[in-house]
Amino acid sequence: MKSAWMRIMRGLGLQHWRDRFRTSSIQSIIMWSFSLCLLFIVMLAAFLLYNKFSRSAEENVLLGTSQIVDQVGYNLEDYVDGMSQLYRTIEQHMLVDASWDDEQVAQQLDILMSSRDDIVSIALFDAQGELLRNHPAVPVRPSARVSAQSWFHSAMRVSNHLSFSLPHVQNLYDGTYKWVVSMSKGLTIQRDGQPMNVVLLVDINFKKIDELSSRISLGKRGYVYIIDEGAGNIVYHPQQQLIYMGLRNESVEKALTSTGSYIDKADGVKRLNTVRSVYNIGWKVVGVAYLDEMMTTREEMNRYLIQVAAIVLVLSILISMLLASMLARPIRRMGATMKAVERGDFGVELPLRGPLEVVQLSSRFNLMLDKIRGLMRQIIVEQESKRKYELEALQAQINPHFLYNTLNSVVRMVGMSKNEDIITMITSLSKLFRISLSKGRTVIQVSEELEHARHYLTIQQMRFKRKFKFELEAEEAALDCYTLKLVLQPLIENAIVHGIEYLVDEGSITIRARLEGETLVLEVADNGVGMSQEQVDGLLEPGPSPVEEGSAGGGSGVAVRNVHDRIRLYYGMRYGLSYRSEREEGTVVQIRMPAVRNAEGDGSHEE
């Protein structure tokens, strides 16, 4: 699953981009992701808006066109209704009692004509096309051929039915050629007791309908045209002449058969055709709207949306750049400070300002730096004391005073010819030095330490003329453990010098080594004069100790404390020396340190 994903990523070259993304700065990551996110949102919004707008624009065009066409249809219907009404009025006035010659009729027609300027003429013909009466009363020209006119035909064909002709040029009278729509009806009336077929013709000016239709425009180029439902003849078309000339084409076939809207193509341009029937006259109004005009609106909107998107994108990049640099600045500052620390400048400090997280981080960093500084100081102090102690330990290895005393004793023994003792003493001395040197190691086995103590005690016993006896007791397990070297010798020296020397009876010193769990305990016990609790308390305190003052052993108090400090430096603060003493009873010193069974840590302590 994961490997497949990786393969796809690699295939798309995304791996490369992901790697780049990983290695690029926070600033650019924030900036780009913020910008991309915004871009995506803006694009999505623009897309949705565009869809919504274009759909509603389309609907609006459809709705608008059909509303306009409906309006034209209604107006036409109303107009035709009005004209039919008028026709009936004229019919009643003129033909009641067949009295068309009446003076009164003439007056009534006058009033009618003057009230409606769109009535061109009223005329009554008999079945042969001879004029019976007309208004205004002008002679019909002989070349008019009334009986051949289409309105006469339709009136004669279906009697008592009002028919509307197509618009045509009226050629009945001299001097005028007006475009009219003829309303005609064939009627049978009783005249002088005889039935008589007549045709009543009312010509209405086509101008009104022409104006009504030519005023309508759908969009910039759209228009309205009217066709005759019966034969598909063009009643009105703004470019009627061009169509007759064959310069233009209007496909009326589809308009004839359809009732709603349909889309056709003319000269490669899509057009929306909306058809509405005008029932009372048998015509059809067709509205033609060009869809490419709507497309231009759509394109304009598209351009506008792109502009908006571009502006938003640029602004968002700017904002995200600001934001990114604002967020990245404290991090960069932190980085610079860390670099300074890296170079070794521990004195720097981060200012505590910026966002909450940055302040927290800065304060943590400052605390950490503080701790590092403290530790460094501590290390310096510890290193210094370590060196000092080791120097002292080195000095203890070859205490010239001790050597001088020992050799003096040897000389005395030579004078007394105590050969046995001399051999013992010299042997002990040589072994003492061998162990105390122990190839420069700082850590030796407990057995060696005890050996060292035994030689030391042997020498001191001889020096002090067997004023004390000594004993070494060690657990088998403790012997293999390791200890700092020469820790016992200062304590033994102390026991002899301060405990045993002033004792009247024979002194006794016992050295013990044992394990208490994981703790190695070395003990030096004497039955000397002992110390007061005050003295015991002051013994391990830093500063001049009361034991030191005026003592012959000079400096041994310092040596004891050095042992204590060395152990604690090496093994930790839990370990070290502890005294138990009672006046006239004796003193017990315990050295406690961890039981170390191998000397691997030894090397690290060697300097």
Binding site: R141, V169, F206, K220, L247, L318
Partner: protein
């Protein structure tokens, strides 16, 4: 040191990028502002094309205007129309046309009164780089990008054939000319003569000539008819046809004397209906306006124009077919 240098470079880069983005933002905003103002100005002032009507031919000019307006609406132009009163002549036409050129019309359509008007206007128009289309004129003088005319020879032929048919292929016919020299009329006459020559029994007798005045033409016709017996006559101009018709009526020979004429004036049509004039050769003035404007638009949009004049067809109408649906719109273009 090196890393701090890089940081500095980075910072400079960022700053530059910021400035660049700011500039581009301003530019885009500026673009948006500009484009919207462009749309506004385009909406306020659509480009105009001027139509200069012919002199002494009000109806013809109005028909041209209808055609030109239809085309102007289709191509999104506004039409400016200059018409003339009957007493105005070539001078006024030229002045009006030059005013249109000065007024910043994108293109000019003109039915020139004479060659002088066309040449002078062509010079002025080409100086301003305004396309010029001549209507009803086949002279493509320098500076005229297009010309629309009818095939006058063919029209003459149609008239000749029609007359030959009317008089039954035999008899004497006369031609009423104009008293001015007009190459168009000469072409018409050539066509007539060519057609009549195909009928050996038809003899062309002495012809008369007159100007644009009806009375003068009546007199000329009277003289012509007095001079010899004539079975049929062709009038090259509408004025001549009206005079001829008047004389025919006066002699009560209306109907017997076969008259064929050019033009579609209302009086001519009325005479045609009444049978005084027998055939009319008509041209579609609406098409002149429409096609003329179409050509002007195609010149404006940088398309090649046809090197030769565009020829339109003429149509022969008589009393029987003059009220046919197709011919009504041609003969009576205006809804009154």
């Amino acid at each position: 040191m090196r890393s701090s240098n890089r940081q500095q470079e980075c910072r400079v880069l960022w700053r530059r990028l910021t400035v660049l983005l700011l500039i581009s933002a301003l530019w885009i905003m500026g673009m948006a502002g500009c484009s919207s103002s462009e749309i506004d100005s385009a909406r306020l002032e659509p480009r105009t094309i001027a139509l200069i009507a012919p002199v002494h031919a009000e109806e013809q000019g109005d028909a041209m205007r209808l055609g030109a307006e239809a085309a102007a609406k289709e191509y999104g132009y506004q039409l400016q129309y200059a018409s003339f009163k009957p007493n105005e002549d070539a001078g006024e036409q030229l002045a009006a046309a030059l005013r249109m050129v000065e007024g910043g019309a994108s293109a000019i359509l003109i039915d020139p009164a004479n060659e002088g008007v066309l040449e002078e206007l062509a010079a002025a128009a080409s100086a301003r780089n305004v396309p010029l289309v001549a209507l009803n004129d086949e002279r493509l003088v320098k500076g005229v990008q297009g010309a629309i005319t009818v095939d006058h020879v063919e029209a003459g032929r149609q008239a000749g054939e029609a007359l030959a048919k009317l008089i039954g292929d035999a008899g004497s016919v006369a031609i009423m000319r104009s008293d001015r020299t007009d190459p168009d009329l000469e072409l018409r006459e050539a066509g007539i003569r060519e057609a009549l020559a195909r009928h050996p029994s038809i003899r062309i007798v002495e012809s008369a000539s007159c100007g644009n005045l009806r009375d003068a033409c009546w007199n000329a016709a009277k003289g012509m008819l007095d001079a010899s017996h004539i079975d049929g006559a062709i009038a090259l101009e509408s004025g001549a046809s009206l005079g001829l018709a008047d004389e025919a009526k006066r002699r009560s020979e209306a109907g017997r004397l076969k008259i064929v004429a050019f033009g579609s004036q209302v009086e001519q049509l009325s005479l045609l209906q009444d049978g005084v004039i027998h055939q009319l050769v008509v041209q579609n003035d609406f098409s002149f306006g429409y096609i003329g404007l179409e050509q002007a638009v195609s010149v404006l949009s940088g398309k090649e124009t046809p090197g030769s004049p565009t020829m339109l067809e003429t149509k022969v109408v008589n009393a029987d077919n003059m009220f046919w649906m197709n011919n009504q719109k041609l003969l009576f273009p205006f809804v009154q």
